[in-house]
């Protein structure tokens, strides 16, 4: 039998010659070992994937935020122009509502989300990039989406504790829970009225551009950001050919086109840019 030739020779037996190696190799090849090794390799790989997915993500520190915010809020106009739509399909829906304005007449941009929400995580990048063209953020913090939700630990900003100043638009943002799902802020009357009208199911992220254009959900696939830390994402925003720039800035350009529609084309240096040509502000 072939199996016998595969065993070590008994003590005192003559050394195996060439003529015996062939059958020994064949017996190993024909035995259960190749199948067992293949299945075990697959099992080990899948186990490794599970262990990697459960590794804790490092938290953000205050020192991390400054360079990330500086980079994400200073994307050069040439990058916006080079990306255009970035292949991102428009998701904004045009409404027949009157333009929602502050008492001083500025259109109000409403954002409702939560830190745990991975789709909010991706939408925030585009919103921060787009709104930075119209004004300035202060105290913008960093966070990650839930470690136990889909697209776990996605690196992003948080609007909690942040402020925004602009000559052209007002930002009214609320994060309703932290990244572990604990309730935090509640929508104010203006935000709630917009939710009731355009997002009665309360799905997040919800973005209303002065109630003239609304969108629910992420504007691009969240997995584009997966495995990347804040600084890496912010750096990639300056590289128009990167998948991150095409997704985040492509979506930001759609948002910018709609914001320009509600600011009536102001400021001209932003709203007249080549990046927005050909982009319909909403469906």
């Amino acid at each position: 039998m072939a199996e016998v030739s595969a065993r070590a020779p008994a003590r005192g037996a003559p050394a195996r010659g060439k003529s015996r190696r062939g059958p020994a190799r064949r017996s190993v090849w024909r035995g259960p070992l190749p199948v067992a090794v293949s299945v075990a390799a697959v099992a080990i790989l899948v186990t490794a994937f599970i262990l990697v997915s459960r590794a804790p993500a490092p938290p953000a520190t205050a020192d991390d935020a400054a360079p990330v915010v500086a980079k994400a809020t200073t994307v050069p106009p040439a990058v916006f122009d080079a990306v255009g739509s970035g292949g991102v399909a428009p998701r904004l829906t045009r409404t027949d509502a009157a333009t929602l304005r502050t008492a001083t007449g500025k259109p109000i941009v409403i954002y409702v989300g939560a830190d745990y929400c991975p789709f909010c995580a991706s939408e925030r990048w585009s919103l921060v990039v787009a709104l930075s063209r119209f004004g300035t953020f202060r105290d913008l913090g960093l966070t990650r989406s839930s470690p136990s939700d889909v697209y776990p630990n996605t690196a992003t900003f948080s609007f909690r504790g942040a402020s925004y100043a602009s000559e052209w638009v007002e930002l009214s943002a609320v994060e309703t829970a932290d990244r572990f799902g604990s309730p935090r802020e509640r929508p104010d009357a203006t935000q709630q009225a917009s939710l009731d009208r355009f997002d009665p199911k309360g799905s997040i992220p919800f973005v209303s551009l002065a109630d003239r254009y609304v969108t629910i959900g992420a504007g691009y696939p969240t997995d584009v950001l997966r495995g990347k830390d804040w600084q890496e994402i912010a750096d990639l925003l300056h590289q128009p050919s990167s998948s991150v720039a095409r997704a985040v800035i492509g979506n930001a350009n759609h948002l910018t086109a709609a914001i320009c529609a509600v600011t009536e084309g102001r400021p001209a240096d932003v709203c007249g840019s080549g990046a927005l040509r050909g982009l319909a502000p909403g469906r």
Binding site: R30, V42, F49, S53, V150
Partner: protein
């Protein structure tokens, strides 16, 4: 000793199962229809099929369509093996075909578990079909 025809039949029927699963996923993709899927803490077909990993990299071709093509190829190879005069190269070709698919499956499983954090039960069924095909094709290659 196991009959070679029996293992060829296993390949044939597992290939047909793969065709059925991949066809369902492909139709659901193009019809933009939700999959019949029991969603839970770990299972979320929508999250997987809406991700960028549901497309062949750099194209707009759904991986489900690629899987359908692979399954049809696997059925064809199994049908050849079941024929009266099966070509001698069929076991090696079927093993190579299965090994290539298994490499793709491992990439997709990585995407599901590590990147997306969710798995799609229909995709997992198809992955099992590929693993079964790989093991049986390997056994047939050993016996060739």
């Amino acid at each position: 000793m196991r009959s070679p025809d029996r293992s060829a039949r296993v390949l044939f029927w597992s290939g047909l199962a793969g065709v059925a699963i991949a066809a369902y996923l492909t139709v659901a993709h193009y019809a933009d229809a939700p999959l019949v899927c029991i969603e839970g803490a770990l299972v979320d077909c929508g999250a997987v099929t809406a991700s960028s990993f549901s497309l062949v990299p750099g194209t707009s071709v759904p991986v489900a369509a690629a899987g359908l093509g692979w399954s049809l190829g696997s059925v064809a190879l199994a049908a050849l093996a079941l024929g009266e005069r099966a070509p001698a190269w069929v076991p090696a070709a079927h093993f190579a075909w299965a090994a290539a698919a298994l490499a793709g499956v491992l990439y997709l499983v990585y995407a599901e578990i590590v990147v997306i954090g969710r798995i799609c039960e229909w995709c997992t069924l198809w992955h099992v079909v590929v693993l079964v095909t790989f093991v049986v094709a390997l056994r047939r290659l050993q016996e060739a």
